[in-house]
Symmetry: C2
Subunit: 109 residues, 2 copies
DNA sequence: TGACATCGCAACCCCATGGTTGCACATGGC
DNA sequence: GCCATGTGCAACCATGGGGTTGCGATGTCA
């Protein structure tokens, strides 16, 4: 069903620049722990942890416990809901979005 | 060029539920003034004005002056940038997003 | 011209949230 | 068993932003 489920969590999660960088880091380098990620950023480990929790709440990330450490893995599936929302809203105005919306419904994505 | 330009403004603009409702209202009913829109919401006119300004700053809306009133029109094109970002990040993990990303690059959207 | 409506600006309040620091707890290696 | 390392929790701070109210300016119309 393409009609948008609630995209609030996803949009809110991706509204923060640092959080998007975390997502990109996980996309590039694969699963990582908060401390590992914190090494690539200027902010503290705790800040990264908070971001990971926010992303986790949005379903964009999941944490697997490995002994003493917690390894976070990207699960970007919920993004599709947000894309549905945008494609539907914009379909009537913008050709690109209309094509996208058409594609989404054709493929039943 | 599909590589993401800065999607920060779009994500931030759409992170707020009221703001998404404003966008949906404009999509359904066409261009409208802030006072007209405010009639459909519980919040004040000024709050709606602020949201329209935020959307305008993100390029998702543009205001046309008509005599005494300011009529706002939806311009959802910038959403495509945000969709690029999501499709690229998620392409490696999620089949739906991969198909989307493929579609985007095939069509040079 | 005068009355009414609409907009735009500014001040203000309050809460969510990004960020920090500090510390307690668990786990693994020696 | 002990220590190092990493995690998780809590308190705290500061800023931003959503929301409101008030008011002056600007148009519109009778």
């Amino acid at each position: 069903m393409s009609p948008a489920d609630d995209p609030d969590a996803v949009f809110s999660a991706l509204a923060d620049a640092t959080r998007r960088q975390v997502v990109q880091a996980l996309a590039r380098s694969g699963p990582a722990t908060a401390t590992e990620l914190a090494g690539d950023f200027t902010v503290s480990r705790q800040a990264v942890v908070k971001h990971l929790q926010a992303l986790s709440q949005a379903g964009l990330v999941v944490g697997d416990r490995e002994g003493r450490e917690m390894r976070y893995r990207l699960t970007p599936a919920p993004m599709a809901g947000a894309m549905d929302w945008m494609a539907e809203v914009g379909a009537g105005w913008d050709d690109r979005l209309a094509a996208l919306s058409q594609f989404l419904s054709d493929r039943d994505l």
